[in-house]
């Protein structure tokens, strides 16, 4: 019976004791070293936070080995970890902290100044590791009370009102996804994972689970490598990486640069991608060159723990058709509901809704948002049963494959990040007060955010960027700013978002 990822990690450590668990640049750590550091740090942490369990602890560190130690230590303390992006502007981080109220925040010497002048309980990771001594009895006693529906981590995602939403995920939902992954794709300790995702992505949490549960080796690739694909491929080769789970943007870049024909092909046996639509032309570039690699298109929002459908590409796809998002992962049910909340027939478009153990527990400290997205299954009036409404519009074809069509609202995926375009508009209008009316739309082929604004005179792109960077991380920054004397309005007098969206995507 698996209740938490620590028990299973300890079993893995027994088998893999002196094998390498994590590599980062020139440093590495073995399974036993990693476990000991995490336990030492956990005991110091418990000394500071006391008896609290199931209350988030924040981690403000770049991606490095000590970040993994911090996350494991927090798990050992029986609290969920919440990783924060060190490149995010202050206000945004503090908005999140204000909402979540973590017990403490773990950081390092280099990053601690960020919290100067605040009342947060700031703890240095090196001190945690060095000052603590693993007290097995204390840790075991604490863990014995943990149940599998207790939260394992919190993941932040864009919210339309200017404050991110924080999705709470429990141990059981991660097990659910892991059982499927192992059964379907045979993950074991022969896997070497090329970990490129930021620590704030759910993909990173999945990679942690692969290490803890299957004994896979993690190779942490610096995020900065994403802009230098040639170096990235070298890194894969050097470390004999055989599995990657990336967002398509970087793979599209590699295809456009024709790098697989110029650099040794990495020994990948399995490639997963998710987070945005992979254009089929660039996908075929990978597919045709890497004949011995299995490619899988994964689909799912964070709220259902990683992914809920998948399409393993077993025959060459038609270049003119987008890849389907496929079929449900095992132990997950997908309902496609039309506007009347009835099941769609084959070919009919409707909203993808998810039923199963994989559902998140909700948005932390945000009951309104939670009850709007996690709702009673309208097809079941017999007993309480929650489904998650994704807001994604899909249809199922006659072969039972699901295809993605678009969004109900203004949420987009950009470079793997989920962005509410409404959040950008909200902050520009109400917080920065740069403009009275504006509309952000996404250019899907050029993968950039375009901002239309209404004003008598131009605001320079530099002025926009200077103001916006105080509020948003770089990935949320529009790349193009277009002034209009009057934004188009629809019959109700509202800004005609659909028209602007069409205009932006037609011009190419």
């Amino acid at each position: 019976m698996n209740i938490n990822f620590l028990d299973i990690f300890e079993n893995t450590v027994k088998k893999k004791i002196n094998d390498t668990a994590v590599v980062h640049r020139e440093s590495s750590v073995t399974f036993s070293e990693l476990m000991l550091s995490a336990k030492n740090a956990a005991c110091s942490l418990i000394g500071i936070i006391g008896n609290s369990v199931n209350v988030p602890v924040a981690v403000f560190l770049p991606k490095q080995i000590s970040t993994i130690i911090a996350d494991l230590a927090i798990m050992y303390s029986c609290n969920p970890f919440m990783n924060l992006d060190v490149k995010t502007p202050k206000d945004r981080i503090f908005n999140t902290m204000e909402l979540i109220k973590p017990l403490a925040v773990i950081t390092d010497e280099k990053n601690k100044a960020f919290f100067d002048g605040t009342s947060y309980n700031v703890i240095l990771i090196d001190e945690l590791i060095n000052s603590g001594k693993a007290d097995e009895e204390l840790l075991l006693e604490r863990r014995s009370r943990l149940i599998d529906t207790d939260p394992m981590c919190l993941i932040n995602t864009s919210g339309s009102t200017g404050t991110p939403k924080s999705v709470a995920l429990n141990h059981r939902s991660f097990f659910d996804f892991m059982y499927w992954s192992v059964e379907r794709f045979g993950f074991d300790d022969s896997f070497v994972v090329g970990s490129l995702s930021p620590v704030v992505f759910d993909i990173y949490d999945f990679e942690l689970c692969l290490m803890m549960m299957c004994g896979a080796k993690l190779v942490l690739l610096d995020a900065s490598l994403a802009s230098f694909p040639a170096k990235l491929l070298e890194g894969l080769n050097k470390n004999s990486v055989n599995f990657i789970f990336w967002v398509p943007s970087i793979m599209v870049n590699i295809a456009n640069m024709d790098l697989l024909n110029k650099i040794d092909i990495p020994p990948l046996k399995l490639v997963w991608f998710a987070g945005e639509v992979f254009p089929t032309k660039q996908f075929l570039y990978w597919y045709d060159i890497m004949k011995n690699t299995m490619f899988v298109n994964m689909y799912g929002p964070i709220e259902i723990t990683l992914d809920c459908t998948y399409y393993a590409v077993e025959k060459r796809p038609d270049e003119n058709k987008p890849l389907p998002i496929g079929i449900p992962c095992r132990n997950t049910d997908i309902l496609i509901l039309n506007d009347d909340d009835k099941l769609c027939t084959a070919g009919e478009e409707g909203e993808l809704c998810v039923r199963g153990t994989s559902l998140a527990m909700g948005y932390y400290n945000n009951p309104e948002k939670t009850s709007a997205a996690f709702v009673q299954n309208p097809l079941n009036t017999a007993y309480p049963e929650t489904i998650y409404r994704t807001g994604d519009i899909v249809f199922c074809d006659e072969f039972g494959l699901i295809h993605f069509c678009g969004r109900k609202d203004s949420l987009i995926k950009h470079m793997g990040y989920r962005i509410e375009l409404g959040e950008i508009e909200h902050v520009l209008i109400n917080k920065l007060m740069l403009v009275k009316y504006c509309c952000a739309v996404y250019n899907y082929s050029k993968k950039k955010i375009v901002l239309y604004y209404e004003k008598d005179s131009d605001i320079s792109a530099a002025d926009f960027r200077n103001a916006i960077k105080t509020e948003f991380p770089a990935y949320m920054m529009p790349s193009e700013y277009i002034r209009m004397e009057l934004l188009p309005r629809n019959a109700n007098g509202k800004i005609d978002r659909l028209l602007l969206k069409k205009k932006t995507n037609e011009e190419d």
Binding site: S224, F228, P229, K231, M257
Partner: protein
Amino acid sequence: MEEIIAMLNEIRPEHDFASSEDYIEDGLIDSFDIITLINMLEEKYNISIDGIDIIPENFNTAENIAELVRKSGGNI
């Protein structure tokens, strides 16, 4: 050279590129900026930069960026 600095200033107006000897190491430009910059260079100089050349060493100073443009057949 001024043209390159002007582009960098457009992308990241808040930074003083003149006083840095390594934009990447000093954190003046990140992965998003590199992609924007490559698009701008390719458009302005009507060139196509080979993926093999997209390495940190070619983007750490305005001189090296200009050299990359020349190497890619651009007139600068």
